[in-house]
Every structure is written in structure tokens, then in C-alpha cells.
């Protein structure tokens, strides 16, 4: 039986709106003197980055790990979420005694630029108009997100990160970090990701965006001013996307053909099946915590991502001479970022002579496996970070 909890729309919506400009997080603000140079040619200034940190930075500032979040993630890796009240999204991997050990490392996670949890994005107030940016916000890319993170790391006085860790869109940022700032990344753990978004994935994103934009309440992206909310469109986008995060086997194991709170089909279009009810809940709870325009911008950023294209089509060229230690992980049942994508990364890293390890984890949990309790994934993450820590001269505890 799926436990569907009611959401309180009005309350969470106003909280989220507040989070966009005044987040329950630490804040790095960059003025006109420090613009963010965007790939689209715009200098974004002023802008702000909302971030969380866990653990302590050691004396020589060498134990920092940057976590990069996925499409609909945020900076709340290991604390209660200020809007949903739920636990942090990566408490399986991050925490005391976990592979990303907060007793040992200084862990940083920032909301990506273009997001909606406190870093500047389409739901933030445009200082020029005093209204939310909406579609006036410039289109951002994965390299833009990483450039903003690098400015945050500078702001924190950290020269070199011990590790950059992330899955899915977070994994794309990990790879981009290694390409853009090889000397600043000692080790890189890239999970369930790719160096370029596939045609199929772009297609799914387009489906999601069209669903949002087809909702009359979207109002050309100006829904804040009209007091509307493209709830249905964004919800459909989330439902479709959510299916891509799972696998056929996982859906069947979780729901089968079971009916929701009824003995017989109702011969209607009500949510008869548990899987329908589950998806509807995924959709409706998502719209309360996420901004529709942010969803458009961040899916676009993933679509544009193609490391090879930025290096004359040669992926290996992008990593040539990289001093970074890489670990790439994929999951057998992930069809959104299948193992073949990870192997492409590995082949390029091998061809460029970089130090890379790779493991494919057997699981039926699909793409979402990186967020779930998958012991083999924790084992390799732990082994990789542990050995990298010794190579980096990090002692077992922060002194």
C-alpha cells in the first residue's frame, strides 16, 4: 500500500517563494564587480548562491568535498528540508561514518544557478524590475553552474577540492569541474551520468517543458504576477520524468497491478491502480516545492550539455593531462543514463591517460538507484574516497 500524504499547497508555496530570495541557507552574494559570465554571452550580476555546509574545514583547507545536486535536487543534502520538512536528499551517502563522512570532510552543497531554493534563478527577483525574472532570466548551462560554484569555492577560501561528487545532472557538473578546473579537483566521483545528453533524454525533457507551457496557468512564464500556478503542467512533467527514473522491474516490484483502496476497477479514469495514485502524488507534491520556470531552465541546461562539442568533438581531448582521480559508477537498470554512457566517459578518460576506476552496480532500481539504499554503491564510493584521502594526505579525522 502506498502511503499518500496530503500536501498543504498554500503554506508550502509561500515558503518556497520566500526561499527563492531569502533562503534558509548560507548565502554568498556577488555584486556588480563579480558578474557570472554565462555561456549565452550575458554577464549575470548581481547574483547569489545559497549553500549548506557540513563538518569542519581542516587547517590547510584540504578536506573539502563539493556535492553537486541533480535536476530537482537542492543544497539540503543532510538536513531537514525547509519547505517539505523531509530529511536531506543524500543522507544515504553523506553523514557521520558514511562514504562522504561529515566527521572527516568539509562537505559543501550549493543550489545551482537557475534553481529555485535561493541561488539566483527565474523565480528570484530581478533587481531591474523588482519582479521575478521569469523568462527574462538568461538561459544557463552546466558550465555556467560550475563557474558559479567555483566562485563560491573561491569565496570560501578553498583553492583545491578534495573531491567533487554528484549523480545525474550532478554527475555532469562533476565532469565539467574536472574539465574546466582540473587543478582544483583532486578526485571526482561521477555517478549515473553522461558527457552529453542523449536525443532520447532531450526528447523527454521537451515533453516535460511542453506540458508546463501548455498549462494556461503558466501565462508565458509570468504566473507569479498573475497569481496563477501551472500546477497541472508541471505535475504531468514530473510524472513523465519520474517514470524515466525508475525501471520496469522496480515499478512492477513496487506496485504490480494492485488497485488503490478498492476491490474492483471503477470503470472510470480515476486512479484505480496504485501506480497511478503514486505518480499523481509524485506530481502534486513536486509542484509545491519546485518552480515551473526553473524546471524549464534546468532541463535546458542538461540538453545543451556536450563536453566533446566544446573540444572539437574529441572527448578525450577534454580530459587530456588531467591530474584528477576519477571514479565512474553506473547502474544496470538505469535506462536514462545507461552503462554505455558511463563507458563512453571511461573510454575517453582511458584514452587521455587519466586515472579512472569504473564499476557497474547490479540493481533493478533504475536511475534513482544513486539516491537509494544500494550497499554496493556505498562500498565503491567509500573505497574510492578512502584511498583518495590517503593519497591526498588526509588523516582519518579532522584535527
Amino acid at each position: 500500500m502506498v502511503n499518500v500524504q496530503p500536501v498543504k499547497p498554500s503554506q508550502t508555496r509561500s515558503e518556497r517563494a520566500r526561499e527563492a530570495d531569502h533562503p534558509t541557507s548560507q548565502l554568498a552574494q556577488f555584486g556588480a564587480d563579480k558578474p557570472l559570465r554565462l555561456d549565452c554571452g550575458v554577464d549575470l550580476a548581481p547574483f547569489q548562491i545559497a549553500y549548506q555546509t557540513y563538518g569542519r574545514l581542516n587547517a590547510d583547507r584540504s578536506n573539502a568535498i563539493l556535492i553537486c545536486h541533480a535536476l530537482t535536487g537542492d543544497q539540503h543534502v543532510f538536513n531537514t528540508h525547509p519547505v517539505t520538512g523531509k530529511p536531506g536528499w543524500w543522507e544515504t551517502l553523506v553523514g557521520p561514518g558514511r562514504p562522504v563522512d561529515t566527521d572527516r570532510y568539509f562537505v559543501i552543497c550549493s543550489n545551482v544557478v537557475g534553481g529555485c531554493l535561493g541561488s539566483t534563478g527565474p523565480s528570484s527577483t530581478n533587481p531591474a524590475t523588482g519582479k521575478p525574472w521569469g523568462l527574462d532570466f538568461p538561459v544557463i548551462t552546466i558550465p555556467d553552474m560550475v563557474r558559479a560554484q567555483a566562485m563560491l569555492i573561491d569565496h570560501l577560501g578553498i583553492r583545491k577540492l578534495f573531491a567533487v561528487v554528484g549523480g545525474s545532472m550532478g554527475g555532469m557538473q562533476v565532469l565539467q569541474w574536472a574539465v574546466a578546473y582540473p587543478e582544483r579537483v583532486f578526485s571526482a566521483l561521477a555517478v549515473a551520468c553522461s558527457t552529453r545528453h542523449s536525443a532520447q533524454n532531450i526528447a523527454f525533457h521537451e515533453l516535460g517543458r511542453q506540458a508546463v507551457m501548455a498549462d494556461p496557468e503558466w501565462r508565458g512564464g509570468r504566473y507569479f504576477e498573475h497569481g496563477t500556478h501551472p500546477r497541472r503542467g508541471l505535475s504531468v512533467a514530473r510524472m513523465a520524468a519520474h517514470i524515466t527514473y525508475l525501471s520496469s522491474a522496480a515499478l512492477h516490484r513496487k506496485f504490480g497491478r494492485r488497485l488503490q483502496d478498492r476491490e474492483m476497477p471503477t470503470f472510470s479514469f480515476d486512479a484505480d491502480f496504485e501506480v497511478e495514485s503514486y505518480l499523481r502524488h509524485q506530481g502534486s507534491s513536486f509542484v509545491e516545492r519546485f518552480d515551473a520556470n526553473s524546471y524549464l531552465y534546468l532541463t535546458r541546461a542538461m540538453d545543451y550539455f556536450d563536453i566533446a562539442a566544446d573540444h572539437d568533438g574529441a572527448l578525450a581531448q577534454a580530459f587530456r593531462g588531467s591530474p584528477t582521480r576519477f571514479c565512474v559508477v553506473s547502474f544496470t537498470s538505469d535506462w536514462l543514463f545507461p552503462t554505455s554512457e558511463s563507458r563512453n566517459i571511461v573510454h575517453a578518460l582511458n584514452a587521455s591517460g587519466a586515472r579512472v576506476s569504473f564499476a557497474e552496480i547490479e540493481t533493478d532500481k533504475g536511475h534513482d538507484a544513486f539516491l537509494l539504499d544500494v550497499p554496493e554503491f556505498f562500498a565503491i564510493s567509500h573505497a574510492f574516497l578512502q584511498s583518495a584521502a590517503s593519497a591526498h594526505g588526509l588523516n582519518s579525522a579532522v584535527s
Binding site: 563507458r343 564499476a359 554496493e376 573505497a383
Partner: protein, 217 residues
């Protein structure tokens, strides 16, 4: 076919506490400071031995447990398969490519061997010798597929689908124009047989063969 002079190893074999005999032999063939790919590196014992001698090592291993063990040792190892993944490595990426006790388990030993010498300047290949007298005797006397202490699997569940003898391997090397720089036959305890013996002697009494190969340009 005859024995080539100077095929054996130097008079001072490498000895390191706890290391396997065949690993030491391989380690001795690799020049310090070189780049090495170990195909089928298991839990990384050989790679670790090589890295302790100043070698820049990489590995390929089929089992995830093996990859995990290697990663925990700080080694750079990718999950993969000699048959399918060697094609993705560029030419001359390594000084040496090692294939230890794996050739007989590949689907296409000839293609694998050609790939080893495309990726690496040199290849070091070791394999069990199916021409060993114990094998011959079991087949002759019992009329059954041989099983030994080092190869205990039955014919129906062995991963070793392409057994060969030392003589067969030498023939393949000739066919694909590979130069044998060094060859050593090991006894069942992993110790090198006496040097400068004729091929038939190695083929009869060597339990495994270890070859250092290069391209004949």
C-alpha cells in the same frame, strides 16, 4: 622450432615476501617508470606490486568484487572484459599490457592478442600449458578432460574455453607476426624451469608459460 638463446631470465630473480612467483616474474619483465595495463587484474595484487616499483598502472577486471578491492587499494581499475573492451583503447596507450592467466578464457584469443600488442608496445602473457605431462597422461589413460590442482573445474563449468599448449601459443605468435622477447615456463609451484631447455621439454614439463612479446615491425 628450437630454443632461442638468451630467452631465460637474469640469474638474480626478484624476491618479495608474500608475492606470487609468477607475479614476481612479470614484475621483473616490466621496466620501472613505465605505463602498464593489467587485463583481468583480479584483486590488484600484481598492480600493487608494480606500483610499488614505480609503475603507472591501470587495470581491467570483470568482477565487481575485484574492482571494489582494487579501488580500495587506490588502484585505477575499470569493470570490463578482454574480449569486448580492449578495442576501445587507443594505439600505443601503454608500454606494457599484461594478460595473466586469462587468454584461455577469452572468446577470441587471437583478436585479444592482437589488441594487446596494438594498445601496448609490449605484452606479457601467461597461460596454463595444456601440453603439460599431467594433462596428457589424464587424457591418455583416463580418457577424460584433465583436471589439476590449479585447474580444478569440470569441462562443463570451466571458464577456460580456449586451452592451448606452449607450442600452440608459439605457433600463433609466429602466425600473427609477434616477436617473442622472452619466454619462461613455470613448474606447478610457480618456479621457472631450468633455462635453455628445448621447446619440447618446456611443453612437457611447464605448467604455465610466461611470454614477453613485442611487435615484429
Amino acid at each position: 622450432m628450437s630454443v632461442q638463446e638468451g630467452f631465460g631470465l637474469t640469474a638474480h630473480p626478484l624476491r618479495i615476501e608474500g608475492a606470487r612467483g609468477d607475479h614476481l616474474l612479470v614484475a621483473q619483465m616490466v621496466e620501472p617508470g613505465s605505463r602498464v595495463l593489467d587485463v583481468g587484474c583480479g584483486e590488484g595484487d600484481l598492480l600493487q606490486l608494480l606500483e610499488s616499483r614505480g609503475v603507472d598502472g591501470r587495470g581491467i577486471e570483470l568482477s565487481r568484487e575485484g574492482v571494489n578491492a582494487c579501488v580500495a587499494k587506490g588502484l585505477a581499475v575499470v569493470q570490463g572484459d578482454a574480449d569486448t573492451d580492449l578495442v576501445n583503447y587507443p594505439d600505443d596507450a601503454f608500454d606494457y599490457v599484461i594478460l595473466s592467466q586469462t587468454l584461455q578464457a577469452t572468446r577470441q584469443p587471437r583478436v585479444v592478442l592482437e589488441n594487446l600488442l596494438r594498445i601496448g608496445q609490449r605484452a606479457i602473457v601467461s597461460f596454463p600449458n595444456f601440453g603439460h605431462w599431467k594433462m596428457r597422461l589424464q587424457l591418455l589413460v583416463k580418457g577424460q578432460m584433465p583436471r589439476t590442482d590449479n585447474l580444478p573445474a569440470t569441462w562443463y563449468d570451466t571458464p577456460n574455453i580456449h586451452f592451448c599448449t606452449i607450442k600452440d601459443f608459439v605457433q600463433l605468435c609466429d602466425e600473427i607476426n609477434v616477436k617473442m622477447e622472452r619466454a619462461v615456463a613455470l613448474d606447478p609451484g610457480g618456479r621457472p624451469l631450468r633455462l635453455n631447455a628445448p621447446w619440447w621439454f618446456w611443453n612437457m614439463f611447464g605448467e604455465q608459460g610466461v611470454f614477453l612479446l613485442s611487435r615484429r615491425d
